[in-house]
Subunit: 217 residues, 2 copies
């Protein structure tokens, strides 16, 4: 009984993801689903991107959080359209939530859409939101063992952004181990080292974005 219900829910969820994908394709928008642990710097990465690309790429943002509108306020300050989804304790975004957000912020006219998922390395991985690419964000401060311990995200993402590399001198972070574990899970995936705080490595991230935006802009 339980399994049937879950299966039906997942099928409905996949259908909604297809509707999102279709809407975004028609609007010519590249959508990135940002998944990470809480406090890895997803919002900071979006802010850094807006500061660098905002004058030549039309960006929109969907913010997912269990509570507060703090992230949406940070984005709105940069003059970019943003919708906040509060899951009210929910542990992940689902495609239906993205559909409602797109009703409030129609994608036509946008080129790049950030969907910042709830900070959670487990549950968001299971739900297709209809995104074009899935971006795994990790913070060096979380330790090098996260890909090994939470493999599903790193197996299914198209790019990994390792943030807060400015803290590495103050951590026991084994970069080689981190890179090895990611390669083992997903041999082709690029791992981009950045510090949203100092700006180091952001150029590499912008280069990756330029590649995925090429068909659009």
């Amino acid at each position: 009984m339980q399994i049937k219900v879950v299966k039906r829910l997942m099928e409905a969820s996949e259908q909604h993801a297809e509707v999102v994908r279709q809407r975004l394709r028609e609007a010519g928008v590249v959508a990135l689903n940002l998944i990470s642990a809480p406090g890895s710097g997803k919002t900071s990465l979006i802010e850094a991107t807006i500061r660098e690309l905002g004058n030549r790429v039309r960006i929109g943002v969907i913010e997912g959080d269990p509570d507060t509108t703090r992230d949406a306020e940070r984005i709105a300050r940069l003059g970019v359209p943003v919708v906040q989804i509060n899951t009210e304790g929910g542990c992940h975004l689902e495609a239906t939530m993205v559909l409602r957000a797109l009703d409030e912020m129609p994608p036509n006219g946008l080129q790049l859409l950030f969907i910042e998922n709830v900070g959670n390395l487990v549950c968001p991985v299971v739900f297709d939101l209809g995104e074009t690419y899935r971006v795994a964000v990790a913070s060096a401060a979380e330790g090098h063992d996260k890909p090994a311990k939470y493999p599903a995200l790193f197996r299914t993402a198209q790019v990994t952004v390792l943030n807060k590399i400015d803290l590495i001198p103050y951590l026991d972070f084994d970069e080689e181990q981190f890179a090895c574990d990611v390669r083992r899970l997903n041999p082709q995936m690029p791992v981009l080292r950045v510090s949203c705080r100092t700006g180091e490595g952001i150029g590499e991230w912008l280069k990756w974005l330029d590649e995925v935006l090429k068909p659009v802009v």
Copy 2:
């Protein structure tokens, strides 16, 4: 239909938690359910505690992770009984898993049991494991906005451990905002500032442990 199924599952889960609680009470064990985001330092806090208290308090550890036995190996190196639970992608521990772990590591003879939950600020909060106290662990590197954005954990914990305070000089971490948000959610809850890396503040944590162990040791 779906709601009925979920309700039945939650009731079963609560019954299992009561069984755990009863077993621990009979054995005279204080059990701590450690909940945090991935990489906040739950395992490091357990290691620091074992190093300080291991010679006078009989400690056992249950480690929860989606994958790998790395945490259990870290604990085993300190000569303390440990059981690893791999949730195989699951986002939280449940009382039934704790029951199976207690079959492998009978609590009689232990005084303090650490149950390290899956790194996740959302889902573990919903599940009573039958623990004596719930411990929220946060890392300064995650940012001061975590209590506001993930309020449920901080509302329901009995103590908050703010770890990695040695990194604060290199972060934009607003300690006053963090403390304010925690106080607003849970006015009586102590917030202990520690660095498992440098040992700073561990004394305050040991004092808190001494208080909760008093009826037992």
